[in-house]
Symmetry: C2
Subunit: 548 residues, 2 copies
């Protein structure tokens, strides 16, 4: 049997930026050629970045995609590459196909299209592509290669089973190696799931599998790379790092990969969460051309964790906490927030909101007169703060970070156009208890987030003596319930059968259902769970499905 030196090129692409994406790939191909590599494998849709969404509706965009593929092919002299892109479907059906092109001798020699088009959660590929129905083997330097694009190797790992198995088809055609160019977004648990999937498929077909994933923040989705080579016995012999660009070389000989360089995967959930969010904020800002962040610093745990994450991602000097105490703020709110900023090295701005709040109440007096203090006055404080933050954002070019967590977003305990504002929500897919875990992780070597922030009872401080626990179940119970309802799709009856208090279940489910309208206008949320709010969870607003 023949042998191949293969490069796993996990790069950070920018959607639609054909120029920089192709330049990056050309650089890798050039270097790989120096290093006597036979074949460079790039990730899925590498020329355009995954996923361009409705940019695919624009014919000019597809032409650029096709031209970029041809341009890279011209660089493939004396070396081969597998490059992902979108091409026009020459046959009847949907107009496009999601393909991997095999290039050598200066041109595209083979084009393999994707068979299984993920169309669930954050994936939407049936919206654009015609699925492939046949399979092909590509023989290169004596090795029979089968290409299965991303989902094509996930035929039995969803909550439904696809009708066909592209991997089995490749095995049946005599493949000696399966290559899987992918765009597989990160979430907690995904790295070990991938070991089960790729290890499982390698063992099932008794074939080595090579998986190459992209890196980068693409709006709500974070891609972690973590590319790997796995032998037919299911053993991982090469493991690329997560959340960074990397080109690793794997030696394939006699039907298997030799042991390569491996970076151990993070096994601790909180460490992974921290790493992904810091990466997510940094790459989002970088790709959007943003440099400086602003946020409201309340002295509470959520804003403290966002401030620490942003400082790690952008540099302490680029993070600008604004303290906006009201008449309902406790003394420790300000002192805790000040100590946090001192520990992190952020310069603070302090603007009390009392005068603004009073001026609003005066202006609203003809409408409000005689009516008791209620939600209106609470929201007025949150919205006054948002207006201040956005004014500074507009004046100084700082980008507002949202500080909501998933627990409060779920039950609607946040003010639309108030603390729900922001260009990006780093914690919108992080439950309250995970926020506490992140705080402890941030403090693992020394006290950065003041312990008092971690230990005090959470409060929105929008009325005297308010505490979260007054109107919500304990976060231990709430977070569990939310996970069952949102991520596991349990209904009310099931939740009660599982042993949760009936009144609590109804209350929580009704709150989640009743606050869809707020989430409809929420900022983009970095996705770290299997079911985040945002593009992966589509809910009707006009409906009546309350918990009965």
């Amino acid at each position: 049997m023949a042998g191949l030196k293969i490069a796993l090129a996990q790069l950070n692409f920018t959607i639609g930026d054909f120029e920089s994406n192709t330049a990056k790939m050309a650089d890798v191909i050039f270097q790989a050629k120096q290093d006597k590599v036979d074949l460079v494998v790039f990730s899925e849709l590498s020329v355009c970045g995954y996923m361009p969404d409705d940019l695919l509706d624009y014919p000019y965009f597809i032409e650029k995609c096709e031209h970029a593929l041809e341009a890279i092919a011209r660089a493939c002299e004396g070396i081969a590459a597998i490059v992902g892109g979108v091409v026009r479907n020459p046959n009847k059906g949907r107009k496009l196909q999601n393909v991997a092109c095999v290039m050598y001798n200066g041109r595209i020699q083979h084009t393999v299209a994707k068979t299984l088009l993920p169309t669930y959660d954050v994936f939407n590929e049936s919206r654009y592509f015609q699925p492939e129905t046949t399979s092909q083997i590509i023989e290169y330097k004596g090795v029979k290669i089968g290409i299965a694009i991303c989902e094509d190797l996930w035929d039995v790992y969803n909550d439904f089973e696809y009708l066909v198995s592209p991997g089995q088809a490749l095995k049946d055609l005599g493949a000696e190696l399966i290559i899987n160019p992918a765009a597989s977004p990160f979430n907690l648990g995904k790295q070990s799931l991938r070991n089960r999937v790729f290890g499982g498929q390698a063992s099932r077909f008794d074939l080595p599998v090579l998986y190459v994933n992209q890196v980068g923040t693409h709006t709500e989705l974070m891609f972690d790379g973590s590319s790997r080579a796995i032998n037919g016995n299911g053993e991982v012999v090469l493991q690329a790092p997560s959340f960074e660009e990397n080109v690793s070389y794997a030696s394939f000989e006699n039907g298997k990969f030799a042991m390569g360089n491996s970076v151990p995967l993070d096994t601790d959930d909180t460490a992974q969460l921290y790493k992904s969010l810091v990466f997510g904020i940094g790459d989002y800002f970088n790709k959007m051309g943003f440099k400086q962040a602003i946020l409201g610093s309340s002295g509470g745990i959520d804003s403290a964790v966002v401030q620490a994450l942003a400082s790690a991602a952008l540099g302490a000097e680029n993070v600008h906490p604004v303290l906006m105490p009201s008449m309902f703020s406790s003394d420790h709110s300000v002192s805790d927030a000040e100590l946090l900023s001192k520990n992190l090295g952020n310069d603070t701005i302090t603007i009390p909101i009392k005068n603004i709040y009073d001026t609003y109440l005066e202006a609203l007096q003809p409408v409000f007169q005689g009516k008791p203090f209620n939600l209106a006055e609470e929201n007025l404080q949150a919205r006054s703060r948002a207006v201040l933050l956005m004014a500074i954002s507009n004046k100084l070019g700082y980008i507002l970070l949202n500080t909501s967590n998933k627990s409060e977003l779920s039950v609607g305990y946040s003010t639309l156009y108030g603390d729900l504002c922001g260009a990006l929500s780093p914690l919108g897919d992080v439950y309250k208890n995970q926020v506490y875990a992140l705080a402890r992780y941030i403090n693992r070597n020394k006290e950065i987030i003041p312990n008092h922030i971690i230990n005090k009872a959470p409060s929105a401080e929008l009325r005297p003596g308010q505490k979260d626990a007054d109107s919500l179940p304990d976060y231990d119970v709430l977070d569990e319930l939310l996970k069952h309802y949102i991520e596991e799709h349990k209904g009310v009856d099931e939740l009660i059968t599982m042993g949760y208090d009936q009144t609590t279940v109804h209350k929580v489910v009704d709150l989640v259902n009743g606050s869809e309208y707020k989430r409809y206008q929420a900022p983009p949320i970095l996705r770290v769970s299997t079911k985040a709010f945002g593009k992966g969870r589509i809910m009707p607003l006009v409906a009546n499905y309350s918990s009965k």
Copy 2:
């Protein structure tokens, strides 16, 4: 040949409200039985309403769907009905199917599943359903009926052609009549398109077609009913009204429909637009349990038209315009707004924002000092107004209507968390020139919107002497360009080739691309075009595809 008396039941369902939906259908079946009807046809997914989106991920929801179908079947004694719903797929593949159940003798006798699953624009059915691959004919009272669910009759009317034609399959199996239970959302031009599609298919197969569509506002989508019966020569012999519940009876004998009652379709675009938006606002409020609306009344054309639409939908006494003049407001802004409210019969609230704006500037002085007036101060005014509107909304339970139009939403000429706020955007899919046409239509019998509002040059009035025309091309040019770019997917090069000025094209396209982040957090928009902002247009935020 045998004959059938068929009821076309176009009803307004609420998503997830199985109780009220089944009760409505039972009432129609009861009455139809009195009237010696043989078969009642309801629209697609009638038991749950179209479209429940990710509620379909909840097993309890599917069980309720199946139970509701069985409950209606029990009412079908001495009469037959075709009822839409979701059932579990008994075979491999996606877990669900979108079906029409044929019921008589008290039970479900036949279940027909949908073959073509629309997955483009606002449709997302491949996300949930396994497509049917076989066809069946149902013989009832001697008539061979073929059921083609909604998209199943649209095999050749998209910008791509499906691989199979369910209508042709039914013809080949000997169908004498094709019944099309549908959930076909309204947009301008859709009513005549449907005549081309159904007339075209009836003629193609030389078979009569009976089409039944639901009615109602389902978040962004408005369904207009407009059900019809068409003979094999393509002639429409029965036409149900648009935007209202209706049960019409059609007589099918000797292979064709007898002439029935027909309501002429609206042919004027502006009249249709007006009717749809008034219906859309009214049904949205009704289903959400809202009664009263609030909006900012600037004396400009957009808020004037929203105010008139809302008054028509909700009653003048339930619409509460708030006048919030600033130091930059012209005198006529207030007088025009007051006259408009007088003409419509709305009570106004007036709250000048000068004190609030000044208090903000004072608080922001340490940050703003020495820096020139810019966008920050402009947005501050828009956001101060939004906070006032939301405060009144929270205090009095009025629901905020957004007043942005599609032209300004496209180019980002609106303030996020300012005039972009609202629970619903009636004009977010209506270009500026269409807003003017609506104003003239509203004034068709008498001057309701003061002519001065229609005739003055549009201005945001956020700085002295500001006019829209200072920074944007004329709306005649802008609206055309936007339509080509957004709805027809023309690229920059194509637009320039079409004759548009190069600088203008680049400017407009860059503005559209650069304001995706604002639209990400915009309110739900009532869809009236073939490509509205919202669920039917999915764009990446983190990307670089500017107009080069």
